[in-house]
């Protein structure tokens, strides 16, 4: 697409974002020969170190068909890596849908999502006693008239020292609320886009690793320059045994099924690692919701404030 982007008086944040997202047409031009050139050397290295890793001729993963193909926005291309070896081996190159992974990140929506995730389950147990709960105060302190002093009905009224609190916290106070569906949807899109733009998103073919040794994961993450905390996302919620055992002792390597993906977790972990199956499922679900026409009728039963 031949559009020229000029930003005159935008803020620094949006400038940074536009540089990431409004990519000129000639960015990543890949073809098979270029791919082969780059991988000739790496293949031989791997064979020397780990003779047991047998792989068909690369690239294994060639292409990916996008649902709701984008008209004018270029799909984002990402390498597909392996988890078999500590060193990164690129198995192929795939397209990611720009409407899911290349959307302009809305920082306000991301903030709303994080706030919602933290607050919807929060219950405040702070409590203060009202005038009828404070011990005592049933008897009128003195006669209404005659003493020359002010008139009172109870020693625990709010104007008294030691009296009840009028509008104080009342335990338990829930802070539950539901963020709108589209806000949550756009939160996911914004966060995924931000992760990809900041090189914190990696795609792997599957989460099968050769050993259940925790140090294997440590070395792998260290070697590839993935962040201290890594979130591995797969389509299935029953993960392979080895990676489950390996990541069990580490609190910063976490496994998650696609249906559990959320903005807070994605921001908390430095790196997000998705399997191919997870990418397929994620795109299918998000694009379905972006293009559906029956959301109003389908979402009626989930509305909290309407009958």
């Amino acid at each position: 697409m031949a559009t020229k982007i000029i930003n005159k008086t935008v803020t620094e944040l949006s400038l940074r974002i536009t540089r990431c997202f409004f990519v000129p047409s000639k960015t990543i031009q890949t073809n098979a020969t270029l791919f082969q050139e780059r991988l000739e050397t790496s293949i031989t290295n791997v064979e020397e170190q780990l003779p047991t890793t047998i792989r068909p001729p690369l690239p294994i993963i060639h292409s990916r068909k996008l649902a709701f193909p984008p008209k004018f926005k270029a799909p984002r291309q990402v390498w597909v890596s392996n988890m078999d070896t500590v060193e990164e081996e690129k198995l192929g190159l795939i397209d990611l849908h720009p409407e899911v992974f290349a959307e302009r990140p809305r920082v306000d929506i991301i903030h709303e999502n994080v706030r919602w995730q933290q607050l919807y389950r929060h219950v405040s147990y702070a409590n203060t006693k009202m005038r009828y709960e404070v011990r005592g105060g049933g008897k009128k302190p003195r006669q209404q008239k005659g003493s020359g002093r002010s008139r009172h009905g109870s020693i625990r009224s709010p104007i008294w020292r030691g009296g009840g609190i009028v509008h104080g916290p009342r335990s338990p106070t829930p802070y539950f609320y539901m963020l709108g569906f589209n806000t949550r949807l756009n939160g996911l899109r914004s966060t995924l886009s931000a992760k990809l733009a900041q090189d914190d998103l990696h795609i792997v073919d599957s989460l099968d690793i050769p050993t259940d040794d925790p140090s294997y994961l440590e070395k792998l993450v260290e070697e590839r320059g993935w962040g201290p905390a890594v979130l591995f996302v797969d389509d299935n919620d029953i993960m392979p045994l080895n990676i489950t055992a390996a990541s069990d002792s580490h609190g910063h390597y976490n496994l998650m099924p696609v249906y559990g993906l959320n903005v807070y977790s994605m921001l908390k972990h430095h790196t997000l690692v998705l399997t191919l199956a997870a990418v397929e499922r994620l795109e299918e679900r998000l694009l379905f919701h972006l293009n559906r026409n029956d959301a109003a009728s389908a979402g009626q039963k989930y509305r909290l404030d309407s009958v």
Partner: protein, 179 residues
Amino acid sequence: MASVAARSFVFRQQMNTRRFDFASCLNIKSFYSSYSANPKEKSPENYTQYHEVSSDNWKFVERLKPPTVVPSFPKNGSCFSDWTPPPDTPPNLPYFVKRTKNFMVPVYLNFEAVRNQRKITMVKHIEGDIWALEKAIKSHLEEVTKRQVVSQVHEVAMYIKFRGDYVLHVKKWLLNAGF
């Protein structure tokens, strides 16, 4: 309930030396997996006859159901409404206004609950240089209406609002621009 059952059970035992039948004492309700499993059900001949229709007829049911995902528009043929399909190539401009999922031009009329109801024309789904687009539309509106137009540019959410009802003018401009 239990005491009544116990009493009836004891009575029965005294009456005749019949084997203990708990179900007959307590009248346990039995549920069957299907109509045909129920012993009270007779063979199908005793009931109203029916005949199966070809499963090809399901298409008549399916076409009544509304599509969940927006179908693509027909490429050929004229539309009798004002709607024009989005073009295949984008215009060579520093901005772009994307069509909605139903291929409509994203211009909306909002009402603000102010003393005398304020009409706001909103343009959404903007990509690129939003200020250039705002300048272009504003100058066009001022030319057409011959009065000053107040606008708001929201850079984060990427929309433009014009104070007044200029929906038709803006839509026409966008279609002419090639969006």
